[in-house]
């Protein structure tokens, strides 16, 4: 490894260093605030390295740098991967801030809590950059295993059950993923995405043993493996239990960062390695999108626990995101060809801000009323008007009603689908938004029913307030002046679509 290789990995390396530092600081300092402070402020280092890389790459012709180990290219640094690194770090920062109100429940393990979040973030930062199957697998495990531990942190029956389910299903999904990778390797002779793409281009399908069927089976298994991480139906069974049982900040983290990283790697794998098969998988992704939206929204209607409701909502949103991925066939039209991917990236940011705001408000409200049942949220509109307003705005954004981030995100995704001649998919998506309005609006109404009561104080630390404010402002800003983020998202996917 040369110095320049270390530089390419510097955001991840500094993140690992920060995690180790946090564990050490936890041993030394008695005041636990110091540990949290260190973890949050320390994030500035990976951010600084990422910014430096972004600027450096900007000046280069290929706008991409690779890390090579021996003959293999395992790791690419480009605007696409850096975009996701910023997103993951931002989510980690907000989750750490809001955790201040939550860590009291597991005071003994605060240091471990922070360190595990940071370690999981390392995996999620590696994933968007990976260009080789084995690296993908290792990064995915690095992202997942700390999350399994974190979901057990409450140490009650539900939390333990959540962790157990999470662990078993993560293992199953990893097995599927590995099996798929093995098949792809067997039929192309390489684990490198770029080489796989070449082999698929070179070999006429007829010359492969058994035709292309085993290769496609491998592709399907890889989709299934990623599908678990993205909470995509029909791989969503673990989602409600894990979301309900885990500590709420971890649920928020899981629902945003983990999904974003999984989408990043999915995009890279499919556009880079299986681009030659694009028309084959585009329709498959469209079907998965409809399935996921419909299952998520229909199941959410019956939920009485707010975290379970948002769990099913996250399944539905994985479906909306899939619309953008399926819009790959846009390549046949004229005009911009990478709208779908730009839409996915923007939607992930919009969805991230929205879901974090929703979960953060729920943390504060649930702390106050000691319940996560939707019916117990009655009257919150009066008791805690600001919190209720933020939750209401984020739910409106999840429906996709303007002037919020969720609306612009959906417009952008649907626009890409229309260009890709998938108008039926847009109709399905829009009708799903209608279904979703039913259960989201119900929550809003519950908060504002009941008799007018006095304001009550809600225990809510300054750090958590900051996190809530940032994400809430994000929803509105992205909804009213989305131009800048849209442009960045669009430029970030240039390297994927162009390459």
């Amino acid at each position: 490894m040369t110095a320049s290789d270390v530089y390419l990995l510097s955001p991840e390396i500094s993140m690992v260093g920060l995690a180790v530092l946090v564990v050490l600081a936890d041993l030394i300092f008695r005041q636990k605030g110091v540990v949290a402070f260190l973890a949050i402020v320390g994030l500035a280092v990976p951010v600084a390295f990422s910014i430096a890389l972004w600027i450096d790459i900007d000046g280069e012709a290929t706008s991409q740098r690779f890390l090579e180990l021996g003959q293999a290219t395992t790791f690419a640094v480009d605007h696409f991967s850096l975009f996701f690194k910023f997103l993951v770090i931002a989510v980690v920062g907000l989750v750490l801030l809001v955790s201040q109100d939550y860590v009291g429940r597991f005071a003994k393990y605060r240091g471990e809590y922070y360190a595990l979040i940071l370690l999981s973030a390392v995996g999620m930062m590696l994933l968007p950059s990976t260009t080789e199957l084995i690296t993908i697998y290792v990064s995915l495990e690095l992202a997942t295993i700390p999350l399994v531990v974190l979901s057990a942190f409450l140490r009650d029956a539900r939390s333990t059950e959540a962790a157990m389910k999470f662990f078993v299903l993560a293992a199953v999904s990893s097995a599927l993923l590995l099996y798929g990778m093995v098949l792809v390797y067997g039929f192309t002779g390489s684990t490198q995405l770029s080489v796989i793409a070449e082999r698929i281009q070179e070999q006429p399908v007829e010359s492969i043993a058994f035709g292309a069927a085993p290769l496609l089976l491998g592709v399907v298994l890889i989709v299934a493996g990623f599908g678990f991480k993205m909470a995509l139906a029909p791989f969503q069974m673990w989602v409600p239990d894990v979301y309900e049982g885990s500590p709420t900040p971890i649920t928020a983290y899981l629902s945003v960062a983990s999904k974003a990283a999984a989408f990043a790697v999915l995009i890279r794998v499919f556009y880079l390695a299986f681009g030659g098969l694009s028309l084959d998988w585009s329709i498959g992704f469209a079907v998965l999108a409809v399935l996921s939206m419909t299952v998520g929204n229909l199941m959410a209607i019956a939920q009485t626990n707010i975290k379970r409701l948002l769990a099913y909502s996250t399944v539905a949103h994985a479906g909306y995101l899939m619309v953008g991925v399926a819009a790959v066939a846009a390549r046949v039209g004229d005009g911009p060809t990478d709208l779908g991917l730009g839409g996915v990236l923007f939607y992930l940011v919009a969805y991230g801000a929205t879901n974090l705001a929703a979960f953060f408000a729920i943390i504060a409200i649930a702390n106050k009323i000691k319940s996560e049942r939707i019916d117990d949220f009655a009257g919150m509109g009066f008791k805690a008007p600001l919190l209720a307003a933020v939750l209401a705005i984020s739910l409106i954004s999840l429906i996709g009603i303007p002037p919020t981030a969720g609306f612009i995100g959906k417009i952008y995704l649907f626009n890409a689908a229309v260009r890709a001649d998938l108008a039926w998919l847009v109709v399905a998506g829009a009708i799903n938004s209608v279904i979703s309005a039913y259960y989201y609006l119900r929550v809003i109404r519950v908060m504002y029913t009941g008799n007018e009561t006095e304001r009550e104080t809600v225990p809510f630390s300054l750090a958590a307030r900051g996190a809530l404010a940032i994400s809430a402002v994000g929803i509105v800003v992205l909804g009213v002046i989305p131009g800048y983020v849209l442009d960045v998202a669009q430029s970030a996917v240039g390297v994927i679509v162009g390459g």
Binding site: F407, A423, A430, V434, A437, Y438, L441, E452, G483, L486
Partner: protein
């Protein structure tokens, strides 16, 4: 200039809502402040309408930021032309009335006025937005205030009715979204004026991803729900019956016009050929809607439901007027389309007035069950006289505005589709039936003992009533007030693309 008249007109109520949220506490303060804003907004809308230069025509008072969302080529584009100028006046008029009839709301006054003002902003925005994305944004924003107003200040089954309203409208707009994106894909712009000028001329219909007729009917689905046309009208009686008075006034007076305005602005201007080709089926639909609405109205015993169903019948005339497009080139076709637009204005004022009066009666006698109300003419002469005027206007008495609109519609539509129009004309007879019968039952029976000691309308309550009566009489006697402005738009409205 950027912060022009129209921007102020649209955002003044929203700004007022924000001020109420942040600074005002006392019920009285909120009411007085909302009243002042209502008067200011009314004056602004009159100024906007009056300053429209009919000699010059075209789009005037433009407020535009052309790079609002560059990635989507979406603009912030407000403008006034012959089509929307009367709607702006109507919205100003009825919005102000809605604020003043809410003077007696005692339950959660602050939030109530906030939502009402936000609703006003959204509807005003729908009428003056000339960019499809912006139009759609306002169209969708309107859902949230309506949902909150009906579900929280309504009576009867408010949650059910509010959700039904949202579900129907949202489902309609799902189809509209696909159609908007199809137009965007074909033309590369959201600019309504440019699309109207280019589609079919510079840009052939064949560039749409769906056949022009499908796109037309996707739009029509959204507008028909709002208008409403049988069979998608069922949300209207429920929403009206359960909504508070002011919301009924806004709903019947302005929100339904969004549908008619949409048909004129989009379906007719952009797809005149399709409207012409499908003129007969649409005319049959309109005639059925008129007759069905009228027959069902006959059977109603709830005063509010009665007025609501009469709206279904009367708004059918708007669609009937639109079908005169089939006869363009000869006879009175543009008269029919002008009539449709005048009908929207007059129905807004007349039905708005009827709902104000029904609300007043309900407040006084605490029932809307028609058999329980008798002899109001003796007890509350002012209300009774106003009721008679509104009723006569509604059944189309010459000298009042309803007559002008209906005669124009019949004149224009008859040549295109004589049979449907002949049947639709029976709607007028039925209207005379149900209105006179109702007036006779509630006003002129023997005064009942239960209604002893009723007080007539206070000056505060008379204010909106008198304003609306003046509007009805002025348009009835001198319709050129409205038609002169409309005539500047109509010659350019229908430019057939295909022979």
């Amino acid at each position: 200039m950027f912060v022009g008249l129209l921007t102020t007109l649209v955002f003044l109520p929203a700004a007022a809502a924000l001020i109420i949220a942040l600074f005002l506490k006392e019920k009285r303060q909120v009411r007085v402040f909302a009243g002042i804003v209502a008067v200011a907004e009314l004056v602004l809308s009159i100024v906007a309408f009056a300053s429209y230069d009919t000699a010059e025509g075209g789009v005037q008072l433009v407020d535009r930021i052309s790079d609002w969302i560059p990635a989507l080529n979406a603009q912030y584009f407000l403008g006034l032309d012959g089509l929307n100028a009367p709607m702006v006046l109507l919205t100003g008029l009825l919005g102000a009335c809605a604020i003043f009839v809410s003077w007696r709301v005692e339950h959660r006054v602050k939030e109530y006025f906030m939502w009402l003002l936000l609703l006003w902003t959204a509807v005003m925005g729908v009428f003056v937005a000339l960019d499809f994305l912006l139009f759609f944004i306002f169209w969708e924003i309107e859902l949230i205030p309506m949902y909150m107003l009906i579900s929280m200040w309504g009576t009867g089954r408010p949650t059910y009715s509010a959700m039904k309203f949202v579900a129907f409208t949202f489902l309609g707009s799902a189809f509209m979204l696909v159609a908007i994106l199809a137009l965007y894909f074909a033309t590369g712009t959201f600019d309504m004026i440019r699309i109207t000028q280019e589609l079919g001329f510079d840009t052939p219909y064949s560039r749409l991803i769906m056949p022009a007729a499908v796109t037309f009917f996707f739009f029509f689905a959204a507008f028909a729900v709002k208008l409403p046309i049988w069979p998608v009208h069922t949300w209207l009686p429920d929403a009206h019956t359960d909504a508070p008075t002011a919301v009924s006034v806004m709903l019947a007076g302005v929100l339904l016009k969004m549908g008619g305005y949409g048909i004129l602005r989009v379906c007719l201007s952009i797809f005149p050929d399709v409207a012409r080709d499908y003129g007969t089926p649409l005319a049959i639909l309109a005639a059925f809607s008129i007759l069905y609405g009228a027959v069902v109205t006959m059977r109603q015993t709830d005063l509010k439901r009665l007025v609501a169903y009469s709206s279904v019948s009367h708004m059918g005339f708007v669609l009937l007027g639109v079908t005169s497009v089939s006869a363009v080139g000869g006879g009175f076709a543009t008269v029919g389309i002008t009539g449709a637009s005048v009908q929207m204005f007059t129905h807004g004022t007349i039905t708005g007035l009827l709902f104000v009066l029904v609300g007043l009666v309900y407040e006084k006698v605490h029932t809307r069950h028609i058999p329980d109300i008798t002899g109001l003419a003796v007890r509350v002469p002012f209300v009774a006289v106003s009721f008679v005027i509104a009723g006569l206007a509604s059944l189309g008495l010459p000298g009042l505005s309803g007559f002008v609109a209906e005669i124009m519609i019949f004149l224009g539509a008859f040549k295109a589709n004589p049979w449907p129009v002949a049947f639709a004309a029976f709607g007028v007879v039925l209207a005379a039936g149900y209105i006179l019968w109702t007036l006779q039952r509630i006003l002129f029976g023997p005064p009942s003992d239960r209604q002893e000691g009723l007080t007539d309308a206070s000056w505060m309550e008379r204010l909106p009533i008198v304003t609306l009566i003046i509007a009805i009489v002025v348009v009835g006697v001198y319709p050129a007030v409205i038609t002169d402005v409309l005539d500047t738009a109509l010659p350019n409205l229908i430019n057939f693309r295909m022979p």
